[in-house]
C-alpha cells in the first residue's frame, strides 16, 4: 500500500503566515475558495516540503527577493511538516528555511522522523525519495499538475506548447541542455573576431615592417643621389658633422658681435643627435634674427646722428640772424623801456585822478545845485503868497488880536443869554406886573414870551456867527504858522546845501592836490585829453618792450637748442668733443656705420651654415627611420608567435564547436528516442483519460508525435473515424485543457510509485459544465484508490465533486489576510 499524506502543518511559506494545520483524507481533499485566498500556497507547501523546490518560481524577479518565505512571518522562517502513512509506517517530513535575499539563494533544512528515529540532510532526502519512488525532478510532472503547466500546454506558440509537453513527459531538462548548447553563432562571432585580429596583425605589423624597409631603402637611394656616401649615413659621422657645425656657428656669432651660444655636447645616440640638430637649427635662426636686429639698430643710429647734426646746423643759422645782439644788451633795453613806462604811468594816474574826482565832484555839485534851486523856488512862492518872514509874523499877530476880540464878544453874548434866562425864570415865578428895573407896568406873559422868542434867539444867532468866525481865524493862524515853519526850514536847508557844496569842492581839491577852479567841465576835458595822449604813448612803449623781450627769449631758445643738440650728439658718440671737433667725430662714426651695414647685409655665411644643417637633418631623419624600422622588425618574432597563438585559439574554438555540435546531435537523437518510447507507452492511458473527460465528440483518439527535430516540436493530432486534425487548429481551450489533463493523469497512473497522492491546481480551467461533470466522474474513480488533493475556485466543479465523490473532504477557504488563508472546514 502506497503512502498518503495524512496531515499537513505549514507556516511562514508563500501566502501562509501563522501556522495552518489540517488532517487529510486518503481519498479526495478539495481546497475550495475564490482566487487569491491561498489554495496554491497549500499545494506548493506540500511540493516544497517533499522536494525542497518550487520549479515555477523562476525568472529575474525571483532573484531579487525570497518568494518562498512569507513576508509577514515574525521569524522570517518557512516551516512545513507532512505526516505520511502507508498503513504500516508513519513518517513525519519537516522542512524549514530562513528568509534570504533571493528565491534561488540559500538552502532549506530537512528532517525526517520515523520509527522513533530522526534523520537529517541528504539522508533525510534519500528517505523521502525512496518513499516517493521518483526523482525530485519527476515530482512536478508526475504528482503535481500546476496551473502554469496547463496554461503553457494550451499556448498558441508551438515552441512553448512543446516545452510544456516536455515538462509533462520529463524531457524539459534535455530540452534546456540542447538549447543551452546552441552557441554556434557565438563561437562563430568569437572566431571571426580572432581572425580579424590575426589579419590586423599581419597587415599592421608584418606587412607594415616590409613596406617601411622598402621606404627606407628608397630614401637611402635618394640620399646617395644627392651625393651622400654610405659612411656619411652613420651616427658617428653625423656626430662629427654636428660638432664641426657647432664650432663654426660659435665662430659666426663671435664675428657678428653676438654672444657666443653655449651648445650641448652630442652623444652618439639618436635622441642626443636629434636634440643637437634641433638646437643648432634654433641657434642659426637666432643668429639670423640677431643680424637683422643689428642691421636695424645700425640704421637707427645713423638716423639719430644725422638728426642731431641737422639740429645743430639749424640752431647755428638761427643765432647768426641775431647779429651783434646779446642777451645782456637786450635785457638793458628792456629795463630802459620799463623805466619810461613807469614815468608815464605816474602822469597817467595823476590825470586819471583829476578826471575821476572832477567828474564825481561835478555830479555831486549838480545834485546839490538842483536841490537848492528847488528850495529857493518854493521859498519865493511863499514870499509871493504870504510875504517875507516879518510880514507873516505881523499877519499872525493881527490874527491873534482878532481872535481875542471875537472871544470877548462871545463871552458878552453868553452873559446876556444867561441874564435873559434868569429874567424869564424870575418873571415866570413872580408874575410881576411891573418892571423891576423901571417899574413900568408890564404884562409878564408878554415879557416872558418876548424874552424867549426875540432876545434869546437873537443872542443865540449872534453866538453862532461869532463861533464860526473864531474857528475860521484859528484855522488861518494855524495854516500860516505851518507855512512859516516850512519857510524857515527851507532857508536853513538852502544854507546847509551851499555849505556842503563848498566843502565837497575843498575835499576833492585836497585829494588831487590841484585847484579845480570854477570851470570844472573844462578842467575835466583837459584831464581826459591828457589821459588819451598818455595811453597812446604807453601802448607804444609796451609794444617795444614785447618785441625786445621776444627777441631775447628767441636768442635764449636758440642757444639752448644748440647746446642740447651738441649734448645729444656727444651722448650718441660717447665723446666730450665740442664744436667742429664734435662734427669731425660724427663724420668718422657715420663712415663706420655704412661699413657695418654692408657687413650685416651679407648672409652668405649664415646660408652656408643653414645648408650644412639641412644635410645633417636629412641624415638624422634617415637614421630615425632606420631606427624605427629596426624596432618594428624586432617585434616580428613576437607578432609571429602571437599570430600562431591566435590560430591555435581559433582551432580550439572550432574544436569546441565540433564537440558541442556532436553533443547536440547525440542529445537530439536520444531525445527523439526517449520521447517516442514515452509517448508510445502512454498512448493507451492517454486516450482512456482523454475520452473519459469527453475530449471531443468526433475526434476520439489523441496522438502526440514529433513534428520537427531541430528544434524539437510536437504536434498533437486528434483522429475521428475517417479524418484527423491538429488540435490547436480546431480545439477549444477547454478541449486543450482536457488533453493536458489526460497527459498528466496517464503519466501519473503509469509512473506514481510509493506516494499515491496526485495534486492538481485548478484543473477545470476554461471547461464547460459537461466537461466538469466528466472530470468529476474521472476524479471519483481515481479517488477510490488514490489520494487526491485538488484546488479549485470553480463552484460547478465543487458541486459535481460533492455529488459524485462520497469520501470528499472539503477544505473551504473563505478569504485571506496577512495571517494567511482563512479556513472553514465542513
Amino acid at each position: 500500500m502506497p503512502f498518503s499524506i495524512v496531515r499537513i502543518s505549514a507556516e511562514g511559506i508563500r501566502g501562509i503566515n501563522t501556522r495552518l494545520e489540517r488532517d487529510l483524507t486518503k481519498g479526495l481533499n478539495l481546497l475550495s475558495g475564490p482566487n487569491g485566498v491561498g489554495k496554491s500556497s497549500i499545494l506548493q507547501s506540500i511540493e516544497w516540503c517533499l522536494t525542497g523546490r518550487l520549479p515555477y518560481l523562476r525568472g529575474p524577479d525571483f532573484r531579487h527577493e525570497d518568494a518562498i518565505v512569507n513576508l509577514f512571518h515574525p521569524k522570517k522562517t518557512a516551516k512545513v511538516s507532512l505526516v505520511l502513512d502507508d498503513g504500516k509506517e508513519t513518517v513525519t517530513v519537516t522542512r524549514t528555511r530562513k528568509m534570504t535575499r533571493s528565491t534561488t539563494a540559500g538552502s532549506s533544512q530537512l528532517e525526517v522522523q520515523y520509527e522513533g528515529r530522526t534523520i537529517r540532510g541528504d539522508e533525510a532526502q534519500e528517505k523521502v525519495n525512496q518513499i516517493i519512488g521518483l526523482g525530485l525532478e519527476d515530482f512536478p510532472r508526475t504528482l503535481y499538475l500546476h496551473q502554469e503547466a496547463i496554461r503553457e500546454f494550451i499556448s498558441e506558440d508551438p515552441k512553448e506548447r512543446s516545452r510544456a509537453i516536455d515538462k509533462l513527459l520529463g524531457m524539459a531538462e534535455l530540452r534546456d541542455l540542447s538549447e543551452a548548447l546552441d552557441v554556434k553563432r557565438k563561437i562563430t562571432l568569437t572566431v571571426g573576431g580572432l581572425e580579424k585580429r590575426v589579419e590586423a596583425l599581419k597587415r599592421d605589423k608584418v606587412q607594415f615592417a616590409v613596406s617601411m624597409r622598402q621606404r627606407l631603402e628608397e630614401r637611402k637611394k635618394k640620399l646617395q643621389e644627392k651625393g651622400f656616401q654610405d659612411q656619411q649615413l652613420s651616427l658617428m659621422n653625423v656626430v662629427s658633422e654636428i660638432e664641426a657645425l657647432q664650432r663654426d656657428v660659435v665662430g659666426a656669432a663671435e664675428k657678428m658681435g653676438a654672444t657666443p651660444p653655449k651648445l650641448r655636447p652630442t652623444e652618439p645616440i639618436l635622441t642626443s643627435v636629434e636634440e643637437s640638430a634641433g638646437e643648432l637649427e634654433r641657434t642659426i635662426r637666432s643668429l639670423d634674427r640677431f643680424r637683422i636686429n643689428a642691421l636695424q639698430n645700425t640704421e637707427e643710429r645713423r638716423l639719430q646722428i644725422e638728426n642731431a647734426l641737422q639740429q645743430i646746423d639749424e640752431s647755428r643759422r638761427a643765432l647768426e640772424a641775431f647779429g651783434e645782439a646779446t642777451v645782456d644788451s637786450l635785457s638793458q633795453e628792456e629795463k630802459r623801456i620799463s623805466k619810461e613806462m613807469s614815468d608815464l604811468k605816474g602822469d597817467f594816474e595823476k590825470f586819471q585822478a583829476m578826471a575821476t574826482e572832477g567828474s564825481a565832484l561835478r555830479v555831486r555839485l549838480d545834485s546839490l545845485g538842483m536841490e537848492i534851486s528847488q528850495l529857493e523856488l518854493k521859498a519865493k512862492q511863499i514870499e509871493s503868497e504870504h510875504g517875507d518872514e516879518k510880514r507873516i509874523q505881523k499877519t499872525l499877530e493881527d490874527g491873534d488880536n482878532r481872535l481875542k476880540s471875537i472871544r470877548q464878544r462871545i463871552a458878552q453874548s453868553t452873559t446876556y443869554d444867561q441874564l435873559a434866562t434868569l429874567a424869564i425864570q424870575y418873571i415866570s415865578e413872580t408874575k410881576e406886573n411891573s418892571c423891576p428895573v423901571c417899574a413900568q407896568p408890564i404884562n409878564h406873559s408878554q415879557v416872558v414870551e418876548r424874552l424867549a422868542t426875540q432876545v434869546k434867539v437873537s443872542v443865540a444867532k449872534e453866538m453862532q456867527e461869532l463861533r464860526e468866525k473864531e474857528k475860521t481865524i484859528a484855522q488861518e493862524i494855524k495854516d500860516l504858522q505851518r507855512v512859516l515853519e516850512d519857510y524857515q526850514r527851507m532857508i536853513l536847508r538852502i544854507s546847509a546845501l551851499k555849505e556842503n557844496a563848498q566843502k565837497a569842492r575843498l575835499e576833492a581839491e585836497t585829494r588831487i592836490g590841484v585847484a579845480l577852479g570854477e570851470d570844472l567841465a573844462a578842467r575835466i576835458d583837459e584831464a581826459k585829453q591828457r589821459l588819451a595822449d598818455l595811453t597812446k604813448a604807453m601802448d607804444g612803449k609796451r609794444q617795444a618792450l614785447n618785441e625786445v623781450r621776444q627777441k631775447r627769449e628767441a636768442l635764449v631758445a636758440s642757444t639752448s637748442k644748440l647746446a642740447a643738440s651738441e649734448k645729444s650728439l656727444q651722448t650718441l658718440l660717447k665723446t666730450l668733443a665740442t664744436g667742429t671737433d664734435l662734427l669731425e667725430v660724427a663724420k668718422v662714426e657715420l663712415q663706420g656705420i655704412e661699413k657695418a651695414k654692408v657687413e650685416y647685409r651679407d648672409i652668405t655665411a649664415l646660408d652656408a651654415l643653414t645648408g650644412r644643417h639641412s644635410r645633417i637633418t636629412e641624415v638624422v631623419a634617415f637614421l630615425k627611420d632606420e631606427d624605427e624600422v629596426k624596432e618594428i622588425e624586432a617585434e616580428l618574432p613576437y607578432v609571429t608567435q602571437l599570430i600562431g597563438d591566435l590560430g591555435a585559439r581559433i582551432q580550439s574554438l572550432r574544436n569546441l564547436d565540433g564537440s558541442l555540435s556532436a553533443l547536440r546531435q547525440v542529445i537530439s537523437q536520444y531525445e527523439k528516442e526517449a520521447v517516442t518510447a514515452t509517448l508510445s507507452s502512454l498512448e493507451e492511458l492517454l486516450n482512456r483519460y482523454y475520452r473519459a473527460i469527453l475530449g471531443h465528440p468526433y475526434f476520439q483518439t489523441l496522438r502526440i508525435q514529433i513534428e520537427s527535430e531541430e528544434p524539437l516540436l510536437y504536434s498533437i493530432r486528434a483522429s475521428g473515424r475517417e479524418d484527423s486534425t491538429y488540435i490547436p487548429t480546431r480545439f477549444s481551450n477547454a478541449q486543450m485543457n482536457v488533453a493536458a489533463l489526460a497527459l498528466f493523469l496517464s503519466n501519473y497512473s503509469k509512473m506514481a510509485g510509493g506516494l499515491s497522492c496526485a495534486i492538481m491546481d485548478d484543473p477545470s480551467q476554461s471547461m464547460d459544465t459537461e466537461h466538469k461533470k466528466a472530470l468529476a466522474s474521472t476524479i471519483r474513480e481515481l479517488a477510490e484508490t488514490n489520494q487526491l488533493i485538488i484546488a479549485t475556485q470553480d463552484a460547478e466543479l465543487e458541486t459535481a465533486l460533492r455529488k459524485n465523490v462520497p469520501t470528499l473532504q472539503l477544505i473551504a477557504l473563505k478569504g485571506w489576510d496577512p495571517n494567511g488563508p482563512i479556513l472553514n472546514q465542513t
Partner: protein, 54 residues
C-alpha cells in the same frame, strides 16, 4: 537515480570521445545546479577562456 544522473548515463554512452564525455559531465552538473542559464554561462566562460584576452 536522479534525472541528471540518468541523463548523463544515457548520453555519455553515445559519445566515443572521453573529452566530450567530461565536458558533458560538467554541463549536466551546471544544468542541475542552475538550469539552462547556468549551462549557457558555463559555455560562455569556456569560449572566453579559449578566445583569451582579445
Amino acid at each position: 537515480m536522479s534525472v541528471y544522473e540518468k541523463l548523463y548515463e544515457e548520453l555519455a554512452e553515445r559519445l566515443p570521445n572521453s573529452e566530450d564525455r567530461e565536458m558533458l559531465k560538467g554541463l549536466i552538473e551546471a544544468l542541475r545546479k542552475g538550469g539552462k542559464e547556468a549551462v549557457q554561462e558555463e559555455i560562455g566562460k569556456l569560449i572566453t577562456k579559449l578566445a583569451g584576452e582579445t
